[in-house]
């Protein structure tokens, strides 16, 4: 009898050798005359255990990790196909506290199923949302999403129900659903994990959104840095179309929803929704002034429902189980769960889907296990490159949109990057300005010019030149960026800069480093 073995096909797992591990398992099984069925699942999101190999036994799935290719022979010798004892055996993955303490709604199938098997998808509850949606009235679907309290997971946290209602009520011959899969924030990878580990969830969520707001065309704008996700999503879209989840006749209902995949081209700003629309239209990714809002005048001037991957991935659960069920999780006005992503200098980096309200400290220590380097954690950046740096004194702030904002932070897309005490916060502040200079679309002056001036001013501070004057100038510049930029790129770049200055002022008073750093000119390229 054939034994089923799971080896993740997630790009992070592949990046630490999962393909070699899978090949070794297939080869050694063949040599020993053992019948093995290899499934390339998504990642469970316990990245310190990747490649995490799982074997299906009569007692359930048993995990081993991290399994590099050279360990595979010893796994066979230990009888891992029967769940045998081995140094790398971690037992049933669901029992690992890191997973056991999560409440996975959007991620409930990721790592469990074959991402490209519709049968697997449906066996684990997939498809019920779309089936229910096709029986329902559009207004009822919008009501359900409103009731769920779902807010935009891309970072802005705008109530999804209001957007849906606006697009539903807009009159136009053509409306669109656009999925923003331009996951550019450092420290974030939840979109990528869904795309690679359970792409049908996104597809189903988009189809439901299309049915609800009356859009028959959808686009996924996927960043070019995710070629593996592109391959998997492309295959998934073909399978979904054959199974009736996409196309001219959704599950035999006569309703239509066609989905198109477009690749970005390495511009962070295209994660801003209006720049993304410009890019989809084949133009430079320049930010559009609002109003008009995209819900009324979006792609090619038509009403367009734009959501992040994680927002759309939450939709099937909400429609299947009801908005009230989803709203039953969370804290304050932040309802449901958020897949947090633990990254940077942490022992146990990974994906943690829990209800809003968890504290930073729980995530960093109970899940993350503290720093990877063994040194004290000194600063944490939450919400991507435009998010504030927070010191240890803020670690007990609950992560819900409002409470975290009150503490000067931004939950954003849920990325959490930890730094140990070797970090130089003046350099981090400089990098924030440099990143803005590299990625600014150039449309508005504060962002285009201010970011480059910001790098120069921080350089002078680091070099010890007229520190007090230059720090005053820096604050003034940040004030201009905050208040006069067209979009969040320029508007929020001051957030990491000023938080570094506020919480870590000593780093701006270190002994001068004459001449250094002077790397900006090598990375800033003119548009």
């Amino acid at each position: 009898m054939s034994v089923t073995v799971y080896v993740p096909g997630d790009s992070a797992a592949i990046g630490v050798g999962a393909n070699d591990t899978a090949e070794a398992i297939a080869r050694i099984a063949a040599e020993r005359g053992l019948s093995v069925r290899l499934v390339r699942n998504g990642s469970r999101g316990l990245f310190w255990l990747e490649p995490l190999v799982e074997v299906v036994t009569p007692e359930g799935r048993i995990g081993y990790g991290p399994v590099e290719a050279h360990e595979v022979t010893s796994l066979f010798d230990a009888g891992f196909l029967q769940g045998g004892a081995h140094r790398l055996r971690v037992g049933p993955p669901e029992a690992i506290p890191y997973l056991a303490r999560q409440q996975r709604l959007s991620f409930r199938r990721v790592g469990l199923i074959d991402p490209l098997s519709i049968a697997d998808y449906e066996a684990h509850g997939g498809g019920r949302g779309l089936r229910a949606a096709l029986q329902a009235q559009p207004a009822d679907l919008v009501e359900e999403v409103t009731k769920s309290g779902l807010r935009g997971r891309g970072g802005a946290a705008f109530p999804a129900g209001i957007k849906w209602k606006t697009v539903l009520n807009a009159r136009a011959e053509q409306k669109y659903v656009v999925c923003n899969a331009d996951e550019g924030d450092s420290g974030t990878f939840s979109d990528r994990m869904i795309l690679e580990g359970d792409p049908f969830t996104l597809i189903e969520g988009m189809a439901i959104a299309g049915v609800a707001v009356g859009a028959t065309e959808g686009y996924v704008y996927l960043r070019s840095e995710y070629p593996h996700a592109e391959r998997i999503l492309t295959a998934a879209m073909q399978t979904a179309e054959a199974a009736g989840y996409l196309g001219a006749d959704l599950l035999g209902s006569g309703r239509s929803f066609r989905l198109h995949l477009r690749r970005g081209a390495g511009a962070y700003i295209c994660g801003e929704e209006t720049a993304m629309l410009e890019s989809l239209e084949g133009k430079r990714g320049m930010v559009r002034p609002k109003p008009p809002i995209p819900a009324l005048s979006g792609l090619w001037g038509r009403p367009t429902l734009i959501h992040n991957v994680m927002t759309l991935a939450a939709v099937p659960t909400i429609i299947d189980q009801g908005g009230a069920h989803y709203a039953g999780f969370g804290a304050g006005r932040s309802r449901g769960t958020l897949p947090f992503q633990l990254a940077g200098n942490l022992k146990q980096g990974g994906l943690v889907e829990v209800p809003f309200g968890v504290t930073l400290r729980e995530l960093l220590y109970d899940f993350g296990g503290g720093s990877a380097s063994g040194r004290p954690l000194r600063a944490v950046q939450v919400g991507g490159p435009l998010g504030a740096f927070l010191p240890e004194s803020k670690f007990d702030t609950p992560l819900d949109y409002e409470a975290f904002a009150a503490a000067g932070g931004m939950v954003g897309h849920g990325g959490i990057v930890a730094f140990d005490d070797t970090v130089d916060m003046a350099r981090m502040a400089r990098y924030a300005m440099e990143f803005c200079a590299i990625e600014s679309c150039g449309k508005c002056t504060p962002c285009r010019i201010g970011s480059t001036r910001g790098v120069e001013v921080i350089d002078r501070v680091i070099q010890g030149r007229q520190r007090a004057e230059n720090l005053a100038l820096l604050k003034d510049l940040c004030d201009t960026l905050s208040n006069a930029s067209l979009c969040a790129m320029g508007g929020l770049t001051p957030s990491p800069v000023l938080s570094a200055l506020t919480h870590f002022p000593e780093d701006f008073q270190r002994p001068p480093v004459p001449g250094a750093p002077a790397r900006a000119s090598r990375t800033i390229r003119r548009h």
Binding site: A12, I14, H70, G184, E225, G264, A267, R525
Partner: protein, 175 residues
């Protein structure tokens, strides 16, 4: 244990019979019916040729009823597109915060000192081009690089030396 060869060479081998202009025209033709076709066309050309040759600009402008300035504006806006051929292999080193927290700056310094490679530079033998990238979505396994389109995590300077050495068989890794 990263022993596998690179999966996607960035451009065709020298001596490939492909005529660049014919390739450009066929990419334009294949994408002509798409809305917002310019980006898919630019990607198609670069996927096939490794870069977007200047000769593509007037052809794209003609096909899409745009001015050459508009095509140039799009081509030069996006970090991905390049207008001259890169090295035979492309190494993209992530510079973003999560990788900084795990020492990507030391890797950048190492590439400069040991291999003479700075960002946007190619080794003199044309073997390797180094580019910066801002997040590969591999932030729990930092520091990360992309080698010919494949993400690699938990990168060390030794691994970089091994890959670059493999790409530069004649002269060895150092100079």
């Amino acid at each position: 244990m990263e022993s596998r060869p690179p999966a996607r060479p960035p451009h065709p081998k020298p001596g490939s019979p492909q005529d660049p202009l014919a390739t450009i025209d066929s990419v334009i033709e294949a994408n002509r019916s798409l809305g917002g076709a310019l980006l898919p066309m630019l990607h198609g050309i670069q996927d096939a040729l490794g870069h977007v040759p200047p000769a593509a600009v007037p052809r794209l402008a003609e096909a899409l009823n745009l001015s050459q300035a508009e095509v140039h504006g799009v081509l030069s806006f996006y970090h991905d597109f390049r207008t001259s051929p890169p090295g035979r292999h492309i190494l993209r080193l992530c510079r973003a915060e999560a990788c900084q927290a795990m020492g990507c700056e030391a890797l950048e310094t190492h590439l400069g000192q040991r291999h003479g490679l700075g960002f946007h530079e190619t080794t003199p033998d044309g073997a390797v081009t180094l580019e910066p990238v801002y997040c590969l979505g591999n932030c729990a396994c930092a520091p990360s690089v992309m080698v010919d389109g494949e993400v690699r995590g938990r990168v060390t300077s030794e691994k970089l030396d091994r890959w670059i050495g493999g790409f530069r068989p004649a002269g060895g890794g150092a100079r």
